[in-house]
Symmetry: C2
Amino acid sequence: MAEIKIPKATAKRLPIYYRYLNILHDAEKNRVSSTELSEAVKVDSATIRRDFSYFGALGKRGYGYDVDTLLKFFKKILNQDKLTNVALIGVGNLGNALLNFNFHQNSNVRISAAFDIRPDLANTVQSGVPIYPMSELRKQLEDQQIKIVILTVPESVAQNVTDDAVAGGVVGILNFTPLRVSVPTNVRVQNVDLTNELQTLIYFLDHYNDNEEN
Amino acid sequence: MAEIKIPKATAKRLPIYYRYLNILHDAEKNRVSSTELSEAVKVDSATIRRDFSYFGALGKRGYGYDVDTLLKFFKKILNQDKLTNVALIGVGNLGNALLNFNFHQNSNVRISAAFDIRPDLANTVQSGVPIYPMSELRKQLEDQQIKIVILTVPESVAQNVTDDAVAGGVVGILNFTPLRVSVPTNVRVQNVDLTNELQTLIYFLDHYNDNEEN
DNA sequence: CTCGTTTTGTGAAATAATTTTCAATAAAAA
DNA sequence: TTTTTATTGAAAATTATTTCACAAAACGAG
Ligand SMILES: NC(=O)c1ccc[n+]([C@@H]2O[C@H](COP(=O)([O-])OP(=O)(O)OC[C@H]3O[C@@H](n4cnc5c(N)ncnc54)[C@H](O)[C@@H]3O)[C@@H](O)[C@H]2O)c1
Ligand SMILES: NC(=O)c1ccc[n+]([C@@H]2O[C@H](COP(=O)([O-])OP(=O)(O)OC[C@H]3O[C@@H](n4cnc5c(N)ncnc54)[C@H](O)[C@@H]3O)[C@@H](O)[C@H]2O)c1
């Protein structure tokens, strides 16, 4: 499936570029230089050109990049033209915030099902998303062909819930729990560890006096 | 301040190690090998040994690492022995979830003040944290000597709010908005871009069939 | 106290990511 | 048309990070 093999660091920046290109498009700008982009997304301009060049020559020398061309290209690359349904497991504190937010705006992602163990939540609808009991996890994931889940359950049950989700065919997990869950090699886990982010920030502030983004 | 200059990649892993060491401690385990740690935190054992070695010889050959020694050491390194107060700006959807969570458990971080522009929130207390009106932002940050803020306001006002916070003496920002805010070089921004994380996950699933953590 | 075993710590090699540099070229100005 | 300016694309240099692989140290069994 990977026609083009690009560095991970580049892949992580693509959505950032994509988002800013949309802003430019909305502002009816039709060209942009790597320098200009650089200031907006806070990535070195050389890095941007390098990143773009993995996909071939997208720009014109002495001119810059055509916003619409880039946009169309990234839309395809990032699968922005098809909607991806994801499920959320654990409708608590954080789960609710995410449900409510639901990535709506110009995003291609939508939480289309949620799950929780609390009986009073089962079979209700929160922010337009149906909440199912955990007993239906596997069935619903399979029926709805959901391949990605957002994990916002307590750490103590994270591994069990993960195992269930994987059994239901999930291949991508956005993990908000501090636990580094174990998964088969074909499953990808993206950890979002908020406590960790804060502690890292504090560490950097205490130990470095200079600064660079990230 | 930076007695030891360690790689950024290492610094980002320290809180992860620290957390697992606490778990070991609670389970009354008093030794751990890099291999064992490796499985738990999903970091290559050679990387772990290398990471630890930046701080000197913390382990014993043929034995492993003493959990309590490591724990004490990391506690100091990570400033876990003193409480860090942070402020949260934007008590909405996500802000509320974070307030409510408030990093309580064995963390050294606490949200001690929150700010929002909504008049009905001003001067109330949410989850034990006082909420101030934005007009008091600078004064409170200065009075309470808060150097770090969590930014959960709408993207459209993120830059303005950031400028205010920086004017109030803030040097670290945990930024949940999709905007890459501009700050003076002495201020560090840690971006947590949830939409981005999801899109990156989707990208990886679409374009790579193999898997590695992160 | 000796010996086999475990496991660290670390040079060196490999890999990954960023930054620098600059020739090539397009667009704009003269 | 010619010159100037802007800007890419790509190679090279640099910097950062991970991994390998093994000697040396320390453990623990006997
Ligand atoms: N809230 C935050 O700001 C925050 C910040 C950092 C990390 N986290 C992490 O995110 C996770 C969720 O945090 P939270 O504050 O939303 O917790 P929470 O307790 O508010 O929510 C957890 C939800 O999961 C549900 N649940 C429990 N067991 C379950 C199971 N076996 N199957 C399905 N659902 C189950 C609970 O009913 C609850 O609704 C935790 O792991 C936490 O460490 C949260
Ligand atoms: N909620 C999520 O799950 C989620 C996910 C990804 C990203 N985000 C980002 O996090 C940010 C907050 O999201 P949210 O869903 O909590 O939004 P929200 O609208 O629920 O909350 C924003 C809060 O900020 C306050 N606010 C507005 N202008 C302000 C100002 N000038 N000064 C101080 N406070 C102000 C509002 O009164 C509100 O309480 C947004 O930038 C959003 O893109 C949120």
